[in-house]
Each structure stands twice: as structure tokens, then as C-alpha cells.
Amino acid sequence: MDVVYFAWVRERIGLPKETIETSAQTVADLVAELSSKEERYAAAFADTSALRVALDQELSDFDAQLDGVREVAFFPPMTGG
């Protein structure tokens, strides 16, 4: 599964994209798994209410299932326009 990061999430984690092997069922499981792995993930995911997640380029939420998903994206609230 590809995991991509944008804006300050990317900066805290230190990379824009990685491919990981995971058996996480939901986005929240994936966040917990990454956070327990290394401090930089724990720092980036400390407050998920300040984060947004997209599954295969569609906005989703942290309860969503990862079944069949190819790309997970984490980023702060958008500030376009």
C-alpha cells in the first residue's frame, strides 16, 4: 500500500511517499501502527482531529476500512482558494 503525506505532515514524517506492508483494517489502525513504529510518525499523528485522510484520492475518515485501498494520503486541512 502506498502512503503519501502533504504539507507539515510530510515535513514531520520526513518523506512524501512510502510503500508499506500492513495488515491494518482501518485508517485508525494504520495510524496506530505507524505511530508505534517511530517518533516522527507519533509526532505527525498526535492529533488526528487536525488531520485529513484520503483513500485512493477521495476524502475519507479515520474509521474507514482499508480493504482494497491502494493509496492512503494524510494531510492537514486544505488551504486552497
Binding site: V4, F6, A7, W8, R10, A54, Q57, E58, L59, E71, A73, F75, P76, P77, M78, T79, G80, G81
Partner: protein
């Protein structure tokens, strides 16, 4: 309907004229241009990051929704990414309709959704350093204006 996500600058006036010329039966054309504002500490530049695989798709979905809600003869969105300076146009939304109410409502709607649902992030660099622009609660709140019961 056209969506442009681009690094290159654009000429807002040219875009408006070209868009208007393409409309059939429109009596009303509304344009919104977003411009990089200088900040208190003095803006050196702004950097806009986006999520290329998602951006055009997300904007397209917002435009589709606008066309479903209002009787529009056309919709166009241009959004830049990359490095910008104070006073540069960042983005532009154009709507056209037979009547002004539809064109205004659709442009207003598009702006609210683009602000909070299109995957762009702004970083401002001043003499004091670089900082990501924080999303405003009021931008998220603005979306509730458009919920359909």
C-alpha cells in the same frame, strides 16, 4: 467546463474574456480571483503544494455538483501551485448563467468548497521564517451553508 491546475501564471482578464466568449445564452458571468496577500511580517514568497493525483478530480467533482445545483452555461476553475509572490493571482473561478442569482450562488459555492475540499496547502515565507497557513474554522463552517437538509 474546464479545470486547470498549473504552475504557470495566468492573465485573469484574458481568462474572463475567453470564458465569456464561450458562453451560449448567458446573461451573467461571475468571476472570483484569489490573490496572494502580503502579510504583517512582509511576505517573501508563498509556496502552494498540492496532491496531483487528487486535485483535478476533486475540483471536477465540485464543479459537477455546482452544475447539478444551478442552471449554468459554463464553469471554469484555474488554480496555481508552486512558488508565488504577493499580488500574484492564485486561482480563479468563473461561472455563467442566464440569470445572475445562479451565477453568484455557484461561484460562492465553488469557492467555499475549493477552500476546504481541494487538496492545496499554502506555506508563507517571511523574514521571520516559513509557516503553513492554518485552515480557518470559518472556512469549514461556510460549507454548512450549502447542505441540503
Amino acid at each position: 467546463m474546464s479545470v486547470h491546475v498549473q504552475e504557470e501564471p495566468f492573465d485573469a482578464g484574458q481568462v474572463l474574456n475567453k470564458f465569456s466568449a464561450q458562453q451560449e445564452g448567458a446573461g451573467a458571468v461571475v468571476s472570483f480571483t484569489g490573490i496572494v496577500r502580503d502579510v504583517a511580517a512582509g511576505l517573501d514568497h508563498m509556496e502552494i503544494e498540492h496532491y496531483p493525483a487528487m486535485t483535478a478530480k476533486a475540483i471536477q467533482a465540485i464543479c459537477d455538483e455546482a452544475r447539478e445545483r444551478w442552471a449554468l452555461t459554463g464553469v471554469q476553475v484555474i488554480h496555481r501551485y508552486g512558488k508565488l509572490s504577493a499580488d500574484d493571482p492564485i486561482m480563479m473561478v468563473l461561472t455563467a448563467s442566464a440569470h445572475r442569482a445562479d451565477a453568484f450562488a455557484a461561484a460562492d459555492f465553488l469557492m467555499d468548497y475549493l477552500k476546504s475540499r481541494a487538496p492545496f496547502w499554502k506555506k508563507e515565507t517571511t523574514s521571520e521564517g516559513a509557516d503553513w497557513v492554518a485552515a480557518k474554522d470559518e472556512d469549514e463552517d461556510a460549507l454548512s451553508r450549502w447542505s441540503r437538509g
